[in-house]
């Protein structure tokens, strides 16, 4: 077993992790980023569409291009990046159990940032385990990273931005999207994303859900059924489609295992995808020196993940003395401004409220514990 000591250890080399690494390393900290995948970037490199937001958010630039630029900056910053590296556990003292290059390491860092993202939810219905039923993100990984079509005739369940965007990208990759099904009476994601796939001839079935998937060894047909205002199936409204793939875009769930292991306080916020760790405005949790950033703190989007990563990296660097209070305050103010913009408008409002709630829970916890931790 080997011991590796660094200033800042970051778990996850996605949008949040890379952003945190850049901030901390350019401030002068010794940074180690670890990711179990063979490629960095998390979900960012799969986003082949142009991002929204303002110029500061690189609006109009494709997600994977933003990812490449971020990666280049991190490489130049002096941060060490370990890929194909498994962080299997975290002790209460925040030391990390790591397997890298066939060796067992214990990584001891003065500050730890967990940016492990979120995984796709599953929905159970008859036939839901048949090969050909997969997460929408899985289909996105297959087409945009591996360059393989997961199927030819696809049905999408879920009309949030993931379902809408992946439907569009499946058609760009050459598949046919036969229908998009949504249980709620309205479309969850942006109207402009929905408009793209409507123009491509994809029919929307709102207030519908999956009744069953039919097939012997894999998906062959899918039957959908209308639901009432209480989401109960309405008999007689079944419609069956010939498809070979059913993608589930039914929400994401933060991958918080390491954070639980360290003994952090959590709360349950449905809008954020489930159990999320308490954290303050510096992204620091109830465990001193342990920070969180990105979707693991609550499912939002790539741009907010990058900003939360920036915040955690700046805060960790400041706490270690690599950034003066003034410099840190200026950077944090800019980051907060950009985060507030992302969380504005009819779509951002829900996330803004959820984040304020999470911060309030943290403030309440700190008050109960008697002020500073």
């Amino acid at each position: 077993m080997k011991i590796k000591e660094v200033d800042v250890a970051i778990v996850g080399a996605g949008s949040a992790g890379l952003s945190a690494a850049y901030q901390a390393a350019t401030a002068g900290a010794k940074v180690l980023v670890m990711d179990e995948n063979r490629l960095p970037g998390g979900q960012l490199f799969k986003q082949i569409h142009k991002f929204f937001g303002s110029r500061a958010h690189q609006a109009g630039t494709r997600g994977y291009v933003i990812g490449q630029q971020l990666l280049e900056r991190v490489e130049k910053s002096g941060a060490e990046v370990w890929l194909n590296t498994l962080v299997y556990g975290m002790q209460k003292d925040c030391s990390l159990g790591v397997i890298h290059d066939g060796e067992h390491y214990v990584v001891k860092a003065k500050k730890v940032i967990i940016a492990t993202g979120a995984k796709e939810n599953y929905l159970a219905f008859p036939g839901s385990t048949l090969p050909g039923v997969m997460g929408a993100g899985a289909a996105q990984t297959m087409i945009n990273v591996n360059r393989v079509l997961p199927g030819q005739r696809i049905m999408m369940l879920g009309s949030g931005n993931v379902g809408l965007i992946v439907s569009y990208q499946l058609m760009q990759a050459g598949a046919d999207v036969v229908a998009l099904v949504e249980a709620a009476p309205g479309i969850g994601g942006y109207g402009v994303h929905a408009g793209k796939i409507r123009r491509a001839g994809v029919p929307f079935y709102v207030s519908h859900t999956i009744k069953e998937v039919i097939g012997k060894d894999e998906v062959e047909k899918v039957t959908i059924v209308q639901v009432d205002s209480k989401f109960q199936q309405i008999p007689g409204t079944e419609k069956t489609f010939d498809v070979d793939t059913l993608c589930l875009a039914v929400g994401l769930n933060p991958m918080t295992e390491l954070i639980w292991m360290a003994g952090c306080e959590f709360c349950f916020i449905p809008a954020f995808g489930g159990h999320v760790p308490l954290h303050d405005r510096n992204m620091e949790t109830s465990v001193a020196g342990l920070y969180v950033a990105g979707d693991v703190t609550g499912v939002e989007e790539a741009s907010s993940a990058m900003e939360e990563g920036n915040m955690a990296g700046v805060a960790a660097a400041e706490a270690l003395g690599y950034l003066s209070a003034e410099d840190a305050a200026a950077k944090k103010a800019e980051i907060t401004g950009r985060l507030n913009t992302l969380r504005s408008g009819q779509f951002g409002e829900k996330r803004r409220v959820a984040k304020e709630q999470q911060l309030q829970y943290m403030a309440d916890y700190q008050a109960k514990k008697g002020g500073s931790l």
């Binding site: 309205g186 408009g195 913009t341 779509f347």
Partner: protein, 168 residues
């Protein structure tokens, strides 16, 4: 239920109230941008890309983009730049019987100049045939092609794309 929230297609009312849509008079004068952005989302690249100041959003970037049609030259930079692919260029002065629609297109294969294709409405229905006048895919468009289609005049306000062409 009508409207973009329920169908993905803006309703007639949403379009009528949209500050990015040019007047009938302006469309008849020549090429002009038609910014069909009807939901308040944080997004403003269209404001920055226009060299003539014809699109404004303001400090609160969730504001709907406002088209200043007298300033718009119909250059089309905004069409490729909009992340939501919500902008087209329309021209009702093209001829007595036909108008043109420039729209963003991010599929393969691209059509060729001179092709006759199926033109589709906001909801994806084939409403008429269109003749491809131009296909532009330059580096600054970052992967988005812009197709210019000539369609019968009565469909200029209806056509917003073309049906995807079969692959190989």
């Amino acid at each position: 239920m009508e409207g973009v929230k329920f169908t993905g297609v803006p309703s007639a009312e949403e379009l009528a109230n949209c500050p990015g849509v040019p007047s009938e008079e302006r469309k008849k004068k020549g090429r002009v941008a038609c910014v069909e952005c009807v939901q308040e989302i944080p997004c403003n690249p269209c404001e920055g890309i226009c060299k003539f100041g014809a699109i404004t959003i303001g400090e609160q970037i969730t504001n709907l983009p406002c088209l200043h049609e007298e300033k718009c030259t119909g250059c089309g930079l905004c069409v490729a730049n909009c992340p939501g692919l919500a902008i087209t260029i329309v021209d009702k002065s093209y001829s007595e019987t036909e108008g043109t629609v420039d729209f963003p297109f991010e599929y393969l294969p691209l059509p060729n100049k001179g092709d006759v294709v199926d033109a589709v409405s906001r909801g994806g229905e084939v409403v008429c045939k269109g003749t491809v006048l131009a296909v532009t895919k330059v580096k600054s468009y970052a992967g988005t092609a812009v197709v210019r289609l000539a369609v019968p005049m009565e469909y200029v306000d209806v056509v917003r794309s073309m049906k995807r062409l079969p692959r190989n």
